[in-house]
Symmetry: C2
Subunit: 149 residues, 2 copies
Amino acid sequence: MSPNATDEREQAAALLRGAGLKVTESRLAVFDVFGPGEHLDADDVFTRVAATLPTTSRQAVYGVLGALADAGLLRKIEPAGSPALYETRVGDNHHHLVCTGCSTVFDVGCVVGEAACLTPSESHGFRIATAEVTFWGLCPDCAASGEPS
Amino acid sequence: MSPNATDEREQAAALLRGAGLKVTESRLAVFDVFGPGEHLDADDVFTRVAATLPTTSRQAVYGVLGALADAGLLRKIEPAGSPALYETRVGDNHHHLVCTGCSTVFDVGCVVGEAACLTPSESHGFRIATAEVTFWGLCPDCAASGEPS
DNA sequence: TCGGTTGTTTTGACAAAATCAAGACAACTG
DNA sequence: CAGTTGTCTTGATTTTGTCAAAACAACCGA
């Protein structure tokens, strides 16, 4: 409907081709449902995809999300107590802020610079690949409604 | 068997009492099965507890672990792709190193000091309660066996 | 030491999230 | 356009953990 919807599909298709993946309706549809800054779980994605592609199954969504995450086109995060979430922002090692009230996830830039995030003080001989930082707290909305003083 | 087993039980009982929890066999048994530095999932705990307390049920273990975690006597961590793990080291905000090969979890001290771990660069108005850092990589054993060059 | 209250454990059913397997099908290659 | 390869559909299964209610045990006070 938007005038550049075709452009977006072409762009997504190019990303898929670049990753060596076949371009399919399901995969384009999955790309479509992600808005910028959104963190969606498999069920959210399935629900939205099913609206435009009624033959889709939950397993297809799992498969697509898994394939895209493996290819580095999507990032999978698994906050404690929630189903796995996916986001389209990849390539930077940003971290996450999870609201303990409403479970909403926000992006946040790296804390104090890349180096500090990637080098623990004792590494036990570990070969560290990635560091993941999750902050837990109350988002402005939940803080306001929970403590109206 | 060990000469100070009684002492350990007394100590555990004191911790429980201090937290306002009743002292029960199940709870003491759960404390018993944790060795220092170990990270056990609910099923590990159940298996070990069942060896000495055959009437125990899985749900009792979930209940005990939940109660102890709520009381701050145990810490619950939930690494992506694994069941929840519990550890006895509480009170310091240490972090974790997870092996992508064998899923073993190691403790690691805070990266560059408490402050850096608790203040993301943009907080979005969040009231941050805790920060959780997880490092992913290969432990010495897995690095050695996977790449014997 | 003995009841009474309260919190804990047992039992069994249930729910959510994700995975596995096999056949049908569609996208890319030449 | 046909073949090959990878993807999707369908349905069952597994794993992890929760819920609810009744039986039971620990702690308090007399």
